[in-house]
C-alpha cells in the first residue's frame, strides 16, 4: 500500500450561513490520480482550493504527509512549495517573461541557484514544446501555450502533489489535447500524485485511478475509476454521466 500523502477529515465549509462543503472525507495515496467530477456548482473548485489554502474551512482538518495542516497563512506558504496548483485562467504574471515566471518561485521562494534552475526550466519548457518562448512575454502566447507554461511554473518548484483546477476549461478545443497530454505524462511517467477537477470525461477516464463525485458540496461517491465510468454506484452519477454524452 502506497503511503498516504493527503487526508481530509470531516471538513465543512460555510460562506456565511451557506453550507458549501458537507463533511468531506477522503485521502490520496502517493502516485494516485484522483479526479473530482460533478455538475457545475457542486463544490469541486471550492474543495480543491481549500487544499492549497486559497479557501478556508470552518470545521475538520487536512493532513499532509501525516501532519495536520495548521490553517494559517505562514504555514500554507511553506506547504505551497510542495503542493503545486494550476488554474483555469493560467495567470502567468504579465509583467514577467516566461522564463522569469518560471524562475520566480524556485529562486525567490526556495532560494535555489539561478543557473541550475534556469537550465532545468529550459528542459521543462522543451518537454512541453515551448523552448523558443523562454524570453517571450505571456501576452505573446496562445491560451494553450500559457497553460503549458503555467504547468511548468508549478513543476519547477518540485512539488510532491499537484492540483489541477479545470485547466482546459477556457482553452480552444484544439489546444486542449496538448495540455491534457502533459498532465497525462506527468501522471503516467513521473508518477505524480494529483487531484484533477475537469469536465473532460474522456480525459478523466484515461487518467483517473479514483473518482470523487460531488453534488451540492457532498461527496456522493468515491469509486475506482474503471468502475465509476461503467457502473457508478449512485443514480445521480449515472444521470450525470449520461448527460455528459460520452
Amino acid at each position: 500500500m502506497a503511503e498516504e500523502i493527503l487526508k481530509v477529515e470531516n471538513m465543512h465549509k460555510y460562506y456565511g450561513k451557506k453550507h458549501v462543503l458537507h463533511d468531506i472525507n477522503f485521502s490520496v495515496s502517493e502516485g494516485e490520480v484522483v479526479t473530482l467530477l460533478g455538475p457545475s456548482g457542486s463544490g469541486k473548485s471550492t474543495l480543491i482550493r481549500t487544499l492549497n489554502g486559497l479557501e478556508d474551512y470552518q470545521e475538520g482538518a487536512i493532513f499532509f504527509q501525516g501532519t495536520k495542516i495548521n490553517p494559517d497563512e505562514k504555514h500554507w506558504q511553506q506547504l505551497r512549495q510542495k503542493i503545486g496548483m494550476v488554474f483555469q485562467s493560467y495567470d502567468l504574471f504579465p509583467n514577467l517573461k516566461v522564463i522569469d515566471n518560471i524562475l520566480l518561485g524556485p529562486t525567490k521562494v526556495q532560494g535555489r541557484n539561478k543557473e541550475e534552475v534556469e537550465s532545468e526550466a529550459h528542459q521543462l519548457l522543451a518537454q512541453v514544446g515551448l523552448e523558443e518562448f523562454a524570453n517571450a512575454y505571456p501576452r505573446q502566447l496562445s491560451g494553450g501555450q500559457k497553460q503549458r507554461v503555467a504547468i511548468v511554473r508549478a513543476l519547477a518548484l518540485h512539488p510532491e502533489f499537484m492540483l489541477f483546477d479545470e485547466v482546459t476549461a477556457s482553452l480552444d478545443p484544439e489546444m486542449v489535447r496538448g495540455v491534457l497530454e502533459i498532465i497525462e505524462n506527468l501522471a503516467k511517467n513521473d508518477n505524480m500524485t494529483m487531484i484533477v477537477v475537469t469536465h473532460e470525461m474522456n480525459f478523466a477516464q484515461q487518467i483517473a485511478d479514483r473518482v470523487l463525485f460531488l453534488e451540492d458540496g457532498n461527496i456522493l461517491e468515491q469509486t475506482p475509476a474503471d468502475q465509476f465510468f461503467t457502473d457508478p454506484q449512485t443514480d445521480r452519477a449515472k444521470e450525470f454521466l449520461d448527460s455528459m454524452d460520452f
Binding site: N52, R80, D91, F93, P94, N95, G105, R139
Partner: protein, 219 residues
C-alpha cells in the same frame, strides 16, 4: 492690450514662474512619497497605521486646500508653530496631494486581479514577495493615469498659495493688477505662463501613460 506693459511685467512673472515650478516640484515629489507610504500601509493592512491612514485620507480629501493653508499659516502660529508662507504652502500641498496619490496607487494595487494574487500565492510567494514581484509592477503601471491627473491637479492648486502671499504666478498677477489696474495684460500673461507649464507636461504624461499601460509588457 498693451505690449509694453506685458514686456515690463515679464521679469516679475519669470520669478513667479520659477517659484511655481519649484513649489510644484517639491509638492508633487512629497505627495508621491506620502502616497506610496500610505498606499503600502493600506495594502499590507498594518494595524493602527492602517486606520490612521484612512483618517488622513478622508480629512485631506474632504477639506479644501484653501482651508488647510489657513490652518497651517494662521492657526499654527497660535499654538507656537511658525512655518512661514512657503513652508506652509509646501506642507499644505503635500498634505492634500499625498491622499490623492495614495488613492491613485491603491486603485492600481486593487486593480491587480485576485487570480494574479492567488497564482502568486500558489508558487509560495510571501506577502512581501507578492507585493514586490506581482502587485507593485502591475499596480504602478495601472496607477499611472491617476498619477498623471494628480500631477496636473497639484500644479494648478499652487495658484491657491496666493492667499498666504507666496509670490508664485497667480500672486504675481494679482499683485500687478492691484498696483497698475491693468487686468487684461496680466491675466493674459498668467494664462500663458500656466499653459507653458501644463500643456507640454500633459503631452508628456499622456505619452507615458500609453507606454506603460498595463498589458503592454512585451510590446
Amino acid at each position: 492690450m498693451s505690449w509694453p506693459i506685458i514686456q515690463q511685467s515679464l521679469p516679475m512673472f519669470a520669478k513667479g514662474f520659477e517659484l511655481t515650478l519649484w513649489l510644484s516640484f517639491i509638492g508633487i515629489l512629497g505627495s508621491i512619497i506620502v502616497g506610496i507610504v500610505v498606499s503600502m500601509v493600506r495594502l499590507f493592512k498594518i494595524p493602527v497605521l492602517h486606520q490612521l491612514a484612512s483618517i488622513y485620507v478622508e480629512v485631506s480629501r474632504n477639506t479644501p486646500l484653501l482651508i488647510q493653508l489657513f490652518f497651517l499659516y494662521y492657526a499654527f502660529p497660535v499654538i507656537g508653530i511658525k512655518l512661514g508662507a512657503e513652508l506652509s504652502g509646501i506642507i499644505g500641498l503635500i498634505f492634500l496631494g499625498g491622499s490623492y496619490m495614495a488613492e491613485g496607487f491603491s486603485g492600481g494595487f486593487n486593480g491587480v486581479p485576485k487570480s494574479q494574487v492567488e497564482s502568486g500565492k500558489a508558487i509560495g510567494l510571501s506577502r512581501f514577495q507578492l507585493a514586490r514581484f506581482v502587485i507593485f509592477p502591475q499596480g504602478f503601471s495601472k496607477s499611472v493615469p491617476a498619477l498623471a491627473a494628480n500631477i496636473i491637479f497639484l500644479i494648478k492648486e499652487t495658484s491657491i498659495f496666493t492667499v498666504i502671499a507666496i509670490p508664485e504666478l497667480t500672486n504675481t498677477a494679482l499683485d500687478l493688477i492691484g498696483m497698475y489696474y491693468r487686468s487684461n495684460e496680466y491675466l493674459f500673461v498668467l494664462v500663458v505662463a500656466y499653459a507653458i507649464i501644463l500643456i507640454p507636461l500633459s503631452v508628456i504624461l499622456t505619452y507615458l501613460e500609453k507606454r506603460v499601460r498595463y498589458g503592454t509588457f512585451g510590446n
